[in-house]
């Protein structure tokens, strides 16, 4: 696909929500009036200094921002190449980057007078963040989660319930994130009069991909400032894992127009790209699902394939539309890491840095292990440590114990 190189990579989307051919508003008529209302409400909020002042207050005192930019000395020594920094999003309240976006959306929902919040969740991180902010602001919260994910991410299910949210296990399809999103959309169509759909990633109908990106861009903006303080210059490369791609977009977006910064997104290659996986760009093609046009895993009849990843948060057959566009115009390099590579990175990081990462950013670390040794020692590499691994400890523990027994 040939696409013209734009003057800026940061000007999208257009007023119809398009990033090149990607994005758009592919939703049922029932939802369209609300989506237009949301677009208007967000535009108003964006130009209201009081909104930003309130948000910045919550980001500082409730979320705990700015998150540190940490020099990972032992990992750097171990790999013997690039100087590696972690953007510590796992230290945010609720344990991941998800809270940045949820805070922004909940504040828009409050402006719109919506009292009932719904969300989909894969790993449960977005669900936990949504349940947390609903508790904080006294809103009803319903979280849709695939039944398979409910099983493999029990700690987060318990957290959501403790926070007062109702978790609905979704039994359709592969019972993972895609199916949770279908079910959340069905709830939204039914309860559109009082319900705000808090989407967890840079996907869905316009204005969600733009809005979620804006809320997550705090990650990249802080990184710019912090790297300037630490090293007096821009980083040389950025790397982040991608399911829908919100943590990656948040880190990347403020750097898209800095040509010296190499940018890498890491999709989940599951059992490998020729087997079951969740790498939409590596193994998919443009199609339309969940309100937007983007790269999707599907068969020749346009039926959506079931994705697979060890990480529930990456187990989705699509990707945010802006990533699809950044791939087509060649600004971001999209790589992929398998379940096994992520597991190895998970263990290495736990032992070298005393940081148990979520399985999602373990995919990014897996590619750091490949890329960093090839870079000179003055190359500054930033990895988005998008979530902490507490939720994955039971699952990874079971896998490792199972292997130890088999030997």
């Amino acid at each position: 696909m040939t696409t013209a190189i734009p003057n800026s990579y940061r000007s999208g989307p257009d007023d119809r929500g398009h990033f090149g051919i990607f994005g758009g508003r592919f939703v049922a008529e029932t939802l369209m009036p609300l989506i237009l209302d949301l677009e208007k409400a967000y535009a108003e909020a964006k130009s209201d200094p009081a909104y930003h002042a309130e948000m910045n207050g919550h980001l500082k005192h409730y979320v705990g921002r700015p998150s540190p930019l940490y020099y990972a000395e032992r990992l750097t020594e171990h790999l013997g190449g690039a100087k590696i920094y972690f953007k510590r999003e796992e230290l945010n309240h609720t344990g991941s980057h998800k809270v940045n976006n949820v805070l922004g959306q909940i504040m828009v929902a409050r402006r719109m007078g919506k009292k009932r919040i719904i969300a989909e969740t894969g790993a449960g991180q977005h669900g936990v963040a949504t349940a947390t902010l609903c508790a904080r602001f006294g809103l009803d919260c319903v979280v849709y989660m695939g039944a398979v994910d409910v099983e493999r991410q029990q700690p987060n299910v318990i957290r959501m319930e403790m926070l007062g949210a109702k978790v609905v296990p979704v039994q359709s399809g592969a019972k993972t994130l895609k199916d949770a999103m279908n079910e959340a959309l069905r709830d939204w169509v039914t309860n559109v009069h009082n319900t705000f759909y808090c989407i967890g990633t840079v996907a869905g109908p316009h204005p969600y991909p733009m809005m979620v990106r804006d809320f997550q861009s705090v990650i990249g903006s802080e990184t710019r400032t912090q790297m300037q303080e630490a090293e007096g210059r821009l980083p040389d490369s950025l790397i982040a894992c991608i399911g829908g791609g919100s943590n990656a977009m948040g880190l990347f977006h403020p750097f898209l127009d800095d040509p010296s910064v190499e940018i890498y997104g890491v999709e989940a290659a599951g059992h490998g790209l020729t087997h079951l996986h969740a790498a939409s760009i590596a193994g998919g093609r443009p199609g339309v699902l969940h309100g937007n046009r983007t790269y999707l895993l599907m068969n020749e009849d346009g039926q959506i394939d079931e994705a697979h990843s060890i990480s529930a948060g990456l187990d989705y057959p699509g990707i945010g539309p802006e990533h699809s566009w950044l791939h087509d115009v060649g600004r971001v390099n999209y790589l992929s890491a398998t379940d096994e590579e992520a597991l190895a990175a998970f263990q290495l990081l736990s032992r070298l840095e005393g940081i148990i990462p979520a399985l999602e950013p373990a995919h990014a670390i897996a590619k750091v292990m490949e890329l960093a040794p090839k870079k000179p020692r003055d190359h500054l590499m930033v990895v988005n440590m998008s979530g902490r691994g507490d939720k994955d400890v039971p699952q990874v523990g079971d896998i490792l114990r199972g292997r130890a027994k088999a030997q």
Partner: protein
């Protein structure tokens, strides 16, 4: 399609519009069902194009789509089903209903050619609102196919003109905010909504979502130009299947019998109203 509505108007009655999923429970049985529907009293037939992720459908129609896909249904075969139906019925309007991705992947121009060639009269694509008219609506109208739009309780007077602008054939009023097969519609509210839409368009207005029985069909038909029934027929089909989800000798008649009863309901409406 226009001829069918003109004829119904002459007869002084509303249209009975049936929905079945193409290829459910298997392509052959599905063709037999579609062929039996006009006989049972269907004035217009909507055929679902199966899709893995039907965001606006309830559990019954979701399951119907998955049964069809499991039985090997594809968009190409759905077009083949229409072609086969046309061998024996040149008149009953056929509307294909579904989601955009399979059409996008098939190729819009090729799809429109093949649909027209197969004898399709109109399209209802759930996830293509007016904001995305360039994708399929405008090309379909150019190709001579009706593009039937959904209007919903959230489509207010301000928005209706945009929704109706590129609509043809009829307007499908979704009587509830919700998914297919959900709560029953309130016929007096439906009457008011239909009247509201008719202030903006001369097109017939058919009403669907939530119609399950001859009684509701009658009540809705009294207030609209047509009543659409889908989930109830799909449920009757499912109830006739064996434990493995395969068709039985009762399957075609299970759907046709319910369709006939519902058709009586719809026909009863205008007589009562007159």
């Amino acid at each position: 399609m226009d001829a069918r509505f003109a004829q119904l108007k002459k007869e002084g009655r509303s249209a009975f519009v049936t929905f079945v999923m193409g290829g459910d429970p298997d392509p052959e049985t599905s063709l037999a069902i579609v062929k039996a529907l006009p006989q049972a009293g269907a004035d217009i037939i909507e055929i679902g194009m199966p899709f893995t992720d039907p965001m606006a459908d309830g559990p019954s129609i979701q399951a119907a789509g998955l049964r069809a896909l499991k039985a090997g249904m594809t968009l190409k075969k759905t077009l083949g089903l229409v072609r086969s139906f046309r061998d024996s019925d040149a008149d009953t309007p056929i509307v294909l209903m579904g989601y955009y991705n399979p059409i996008y992947i098939y190729g819009v121009d090729k799809f429109l050619d093949d649909a027209k060639g197969a004898g399709v009269d109109g399209l209802i694509i759930v996830d293509l609102p007016p904001e995305e008219d360039d994708e399929l609506c405008i090309p379909a109208l150019k190709a001579g196919l009706n593009f039937i739009r959904l209007a919903t309780p959230t489509t207010d007077d301000k928005r209706l003109p945009a929704v109706l602008a590129n609509t043809s054939g009829f307007v499908y009023y979704v009587s509830i905010t919700g998914i297919t097969g959900a709560a029953a519609a309130d016929s007096s509210a439906v009457g008011a909504a239909v009247a509201r839409i008719k202030r903006h368009t001369a097109l017939p207005v058919c009403v669907g979502f939530g119609i399950r029985t001859p009684e509701t069909a009658r009540a809705i038909a009294a207030n609209a130009d047509g009543a659409v029934v889908g989930t109830a027929l799909v449920d009757a089909l499912k109830a006739s299947l064996d434990a493995e989800g395969r068709a039985t000798p009762k399957t075609v008649s299970a759907v046709a019998d319910l369709a006939a009863a519902l058709a009586q309901g719809v026909r009863g409406a205008q007589q009562a109203a007159e």
